[in-house]
C-alpha cells in the first residue's frame, strides 16, 4: 500500500465554465448582446424585463428572453405578451441556472436564431447567492435591487454584487413611501463594485427606462461586428 498526492489544480465548475465559454463565443459570432438578470425573488425582474422587451421592440430592436424558475411557466406567459419570443426553463428544485440548461434550451428553441437577435435576456432564478458562481456565457450581468429590500443588501450579498456589471434599482415609484435612502443604496453598491453602472427605474411608470435603453443600445452596438 502506498500513499501519494495527485495534484489536480482544476476548476470545480470546469464543465460549466467550458460550456459557458462556448456559448460566449457563439453569442459573439452571432453579434447578440446577452444579459443575465439576477436578484432576490420579488425584486421585480419580470416586470422590469416585460417593460424592457416592450420598449426594445417598439424601438425596432430584436429581442428574446429565456426565463428560469423552479416551477411554472407563469413568467414566460407574462413576458410573451410583449410580443418577443420567450422560453421558460424549469429547474425543478435547482436554485440557479447553469450553462448546460441555456445551451439545451437554445438548441430546442424553434424559430429563434441567435443571428437574428440584437438582445437575449436571461432571467435567472430568484436567488442572490448561487447564480453568482455559474457563468452563462453572458456579456453583462445585471444585479437588480428593489427599493423595498433595504439599502444594505449589496453589503449582505457582496459576491453577487461584486460579479455584476450593472445594477438596476427597481420600483422607484414607491421609493418615497418606503423611505428609500438612495444615497446609501448607491454608496453600498459602489462599496462592493466601484466601477458599476447604476440605473434607477420604475417598470410601472417607465421612469428611468430611457437611460437603461440607451445603455442597452450602446452595448448592443459594441457586439455587432
Amino acid at each position: 500500500m502506498t500513499t501519494r498526492i495527485v495534484e489536480l489544480r482544476q476548476g470545480i465548475l470546469k464543465k460549466n465554465d467550458e460550456l459557458a465559454r462556448g456559448l460566449r463565443s457563439r453569442f459573439e459570432t452571432a453579434g447578440v448582446l446577452v444579459l443575465n438578470l439576477v436578484s432576490s425573488p420579488g425584486t421585480g425582474k419580470t416586470a422590469f424585463l416585460e417593460r424592457t422587451l416592450r420598449e426594445v421592440l417598439a424601438h425596432g430592436g430584436r429581442a428574446a428572453a429565456l426565463v428560469g424558475d423552479l416551477e411554472t411557466d407563469n413568467d414566460a406567459r407574462r413576458l410573451a405578451a410583449s410580443g418577443a419570443p420567450v422560453r421558460q426553463i424549469n429547474t425543478h428544485g435547482i436554485c440557479h441556472l447553469e450553462a448546460e440548461m441555456v445551451s439545451k434550451h437554445l438548441e430546442a428553441w424553434e424559430g429563434v436564431e441567435l443571428g437574428q437577435l440584437d438582445y437575449l435576456f436571461i432571467e435567472n432564478v430568484g436567488n442572490l447567492v448561487c447564480p453568482s458562481s455559474y457563468d452563462l456565457g453572458e456579456r453583462i450581468r445585471v444585479a437588480l435591487l428593489s427599493v423595498t429590500e433595504g439599502e444594505d443588501k449589496p453589503l449582505k450579498y457582496p459576491t453577487l454584487f461584486n460579479s455584476a456589471d450593472a445594477a438596476v434599482i427597481t420600483k422607484m415609484d414607491i421609493a418615497a413611501a418606503v423611505e428609500f435612502d438612495r444615497e446609501a443604496a448607491h454608496r453600498n453598491i459602489r462599496e462592493i463594485r466601484p466601477d458599476i453602472r447604476i440605473f434607477e427605474t420604475s417598470a410601472k411608470t417607465g421612469a428611468g427606462m430611457d437611460g437603461w435603453l440607451e445603455y442597452l443600445a450602446r452595448e448592443g452596438r459594441r457586439c455587432q461586428v
Partner: protein, 121 residues
C-alpha cells in the same frame, strides 16, 4: 444552497481522475475556495459525507483552504487583501478598487490516494 451541486462536481471530477489509478482509494481531497465564492465550508462538509457515499471517496477527509480576497489598486498600483467583504478598497491608500485578483477560486488543488500496490514501471 448550491454546496451539494458543488460537492457533486468535486466527486465527479475526482472519479474521472481515478481512472488513471485503478483500484486506488481516496483518503483526502483538498479544495481551494475563495472568500468571495459564496460557498460555506460547513455546508460543504455536510454535503460531502452524503455525496461520497458508495464512491471511492467514501470516508475521505475534505480539506478546505480559504483564499482571501485581494485587489489591485489602479490609484497606487499596490496589490493586497481587502479589509472586509463589505468594502472593496485598497488596503494601502483606501481608494475604491474594482480589480479583484484573488478570492473567487473554486478549485480542487489535490487529492491524496492509496494505491493497492506499487505501480510497476
Amino acid at each position: 444552497m448550491h454546496e451539494l451541486s458543488i460537492v457533486s462536481s468535486v466527486v465527479d471530477n475526482v472519479i474521472e481522475t481515478l481512472e488513471k489509478y485503478p483500484g486506488a482509494r481516496v483518503t483526502e481531497v483538498r479544495l481551494k475556495v475563495g472568500a468571495l465564492a459564496a460557498v460555506i465550508e460547513d455546508s460543504l462538509q455536510f454535503c460531502y459525507g452524503i455525496a461520497t457515499e458508495g464512491t471511492p471517496l467514501e470516508g475521505s477527509r475534505l480539506v478546505v483552504n480559504i483564499v482571501p480576497v485581494t485587489v489591485h489598486c489602479e490609484a497606487c498600483g499596490a496589490d493586497g487583501p481587502i479589509e472586509s467583504l463589505q468594502s472593496f478598497r485598497c488596503p494601502g491608500c483606501g481608494e475604491p478598487a474594482a480589480d479583484v485578483r484573488h478570492g473567487r477560486e473554486l478549485e480542487i488543488e489535490a487529492i491524496e490516494i492509496e494505491d493497492p500496490e506499487e505501480v510497476k514501471p
